[in-house]
Every structure is written in structure tokens, then in C-alpha cells.
Symmetry: C2
Subunit: 227 residues, 2 copies
């Protein structure tokens, strides 16, 4: 390990303003500089400075569209590192019977490009229980029954069978300490859920809202019940 490089990276993600930016981007979406400046409550020149430092270090990438510049993580590893850092934050004092039970973010949320939280874990569990996925220590594999199942809900697994990248890999979930579905299958699944309006993104948050249609569908397809 090049210590100098590690120190550089540490200093980059260790700045209070930059960590705000990086946290905001954890939902995997791309945001413009102005959006981020509002979220992080920083002046535009200031955010611009931080963003350029992060892109120079290949932590963020930019995609220009007209006069807008959309910033997002340059690679999956960034999401892991930020999530892992979040796991270090001491659990908030459980003050006076304030119930945090269905906290929407830990309940159902997106992590980078896939589904996380309690619901993400539950869906993955059900996929295994129904023998649509087979779990290995380093990956998930789609079973023949799984291929048919995903076909039925409109995800063509052949599309990424040809691709070299991992189809389905476990991804540590820091709120649940369990595994949920990442990789191209996890990503397709989230896209599908959003497109079919089974789930909806919320403004400026990684929380996902499960629609009525979504609850019905998840019960019928996977036997998942919601209270």
C-alpha cells in the first residue's frame, strides 16, 4: 500500500463538506453542482472546488449535459467506503420512548445502484428460499427456475449472461448486517421496480417508498408481507 496515496484519499473523503457531498450521492444518482451546493449548504465556488478535487482523484465522475454538469461516484468502491464510514457513526441516543421502528431509510433504501435496507435483504432472502437464486460465498447464481422467474417479471437474464461482469454479488448492508443483491441483476431489479412504479424514489433521500401496487406485487411474486 502506498501510504502517501492512502493519506491523500483519506484527506479527500475526510473533509466535512466533502463527506456531505459524498453522502448525498450514496443513492447512486447524479446531481448537479447547484443541487449539491443547496444540499450541503455551501457556496457555489466552494462546492465547485470540492467537486473538482474529488473528480481529479477519480472519486467522482462528471457527465456534462448542456450547461449542467452531473456528478456521481466514479466507481462502486466509493459507495462501499462511504457506507462503511457511516457504520462508524455511533447509534443515536435512544432518547425517551421515541420509536425508530419503521425508519424509512433503514427500512427500504437504495444503495448506489441497487436495493438495500430491510426490504432489500428480505427480497434477497425470498429469492433464495424460492430457489430462484443460489448463494455462494462470493456470489449469487441464478437457477433455471430463477431465469424463468426473472423472465416473467420482465428481466431478461440472457442480456447479462453474455457480459463478463458479475451478475449478482452479495453486498454488505450496513444497517441490516446482512446481504442483499448487488451486481447487474440487483441493478436491473431496482430499475424494474422503479419503472413499474412498485417503488418510488424520494427527494434528496435514499429512502424508497413502496407503492400499493408494489406491496401487492411483492406479496404475489415473493410472498413478502408488509404490516
Amino acid at each position: 500500500m502506498d501510504m502517501k496515496e492512502l493519506e491523500r484519499v483519506a484527506a479527500l473523503i475526510g473533509d466535512p463538506s466533502r463527506v456531505k457531498i459524498l453522502w448525498a450521492l450514496l443513492d447512486g444518482r447524479a446531481y448537479t453542482a447547484t443541487e449539491l451546493s443547496i444540499f450541503a449548504d455551501l457556496s457555489r465556488p466552494n462546492i465547485s472546488m470540492h467537486l473538482s478535487k474529488l473528480t481529479d482523484a477519480d472519486i467522482l465522475k462528471v457527465s456534462c449535459q448542456g450547461r449542467h454538469r452531473y456528478y456521481s461516484y466514479s466507481r462502486m468502491e466509493v459507495a462501499y467506503a462511504i457506507e462503511a464510514m457511516g457504520a462508524l457513526v455511533p447509534a443515536p441516543e435512544l432518547k425517551k420512548n421515541v420509536t425508530l421502528r419503521n425508519d424509512p431509510v433503514s427500512y427500504c433504501r437504495s444503495c448506489y445502484d441497487h436495493l438495500a435496507g430491510k426490504v432489500g435483504v428480505a427480497i434477497t432472502d425470498q429469492l433464495i428460499k424460492k430457489d430462484y437464486l443460489k448463494s455462494f460465498p462470493d456470489r449469487f447464481e441464478i437457477t433455471p427456475a430463477g431465469i424463468i422467474f426473472f423472465e416473467r417479471i420482465g428481466i431478461d437474464t440472457r442480456l447479462f449472461n453474455s457480459q463478463k461482469r458479475t451478475i449478482a454479488k452479495p453486498c454488505l448492508d450496513w444497517t441490516e448486517r446482512r446481504f442483499h443483491l448487488a451486481g447487474s441483476l440487483g441493478s436491473s431489479l431496482l430499475q424494474k421496480l422503479l419503472k413499474e412504479d412498485l417503488m418510488r424514489r424520494t427527494e434528496n433521500s435514499r429512502a424508497l417508498q413502496i407503492t400499493f401496487k408494489g406491496k401487492k406485487e411483492l406479496f404475489e411474486q415473493l410472498g413478502l408481507e408488509f404490516n
Copy 2:
């Protein structure tokens, strides 16, 4: 997520000197302030200041033994976060046919309290292949055959059957992008390997040296061959 707290944590682990300390501790051992000051090339008052900040934030813990104060991670999550941060460091330029093949650290190393690197992954794979472990998305389970096997090599699995904590859980390995054995079983296994002199720790590094006896034993018990 309490943003203020996240910023505090980020600033703490984001400092160049502190990240040196945290990286040194990644092998899971406890070091004294003076050892760390030598490793990180910092004055004693300076290291003391950093160490107290890290302990105050419950990132490190101290155990006092006489006039020595041994510092180590206060919890597993710290190891994850530091490893994840390390994964963000850009791969070194592959300059002139310098072969990095058997880089000892990525080859065989300890991660916090268990075995990581190529060898850690290989051992885990063999344990599964030999049906001593069964892999689940969120954990490993010891099979009846496994109980006998671990018994034979001197690890009494009943000892931690009673404990509440996870016996064997997968742990992302950032150099291999695969899973290796963590949890109390992983920890016992590493301890055993060290105690039986099948592997040896190296000074100030997370690299582990496999002894001749170790190669022999790993081949006989698990069919692992070393070139």
C-alpha cells in the same frame, strides 16, 4: 443519519497522521503509543493527541498494562471502514515489468482478527468444497462433518456454539473481491494457525508467512497446494 456525527467521524479518520495509525492497526494487534509513533514517524506528544481523539470517539480502545498502553480498534466496523478506504487507493502504475505477483501482503495477510488475502479465500473455498462449511448469503454454517474436522485440528466449535455472536460470517476481502472467513470461527482459526506455527506474523506488516510445516498441513488437511 446525523450529519454532524458523520462529519466528525470523517474528519477523525481523514487525517493523514491518523490514517497511518489506523492502517498500522489493521492487522488486529494492539500497539503501544511509542510503537505507533515510530511507525507513523510522529512525535510522542503528537501521537498521544491523535490517539486520545480516536479513543474519545470510540474508534480505538486502550488496554493498560503497567506503564504500557495498548491501542487497538474498538470494534470490527473500524476495520471494515479502513479496508474500504484502502480499496479507493488507485492501483499503482504498472511500471516496467515489475511483477507484483506474489506480493506477500495481498497473498496472505491478516485482516483485523482473521485470515485474509488469496490464502484466506482459498482456505474458505476448500472448507466449503469439503463440506465442512455451508455458505449462506449472510453467514456460514458449520456442518456436522465440519464440527468433526475442526475438532480434529483442535478447534472446539462447541465453545462458541453457546455464544450469541456470529460463529462464521463472510467478510469482503478487498484485494481478492471474494469472501473469507470472519467471526469467531475465523478468529479461532487464525489463532490456531499462529499458535501451531503454521503461519507467522511479520514485523509491522499484515503479511503472514506460511511456514514449511504450514504448507504441509494445509495440503494434508485441505488439499491446498503452494507453488
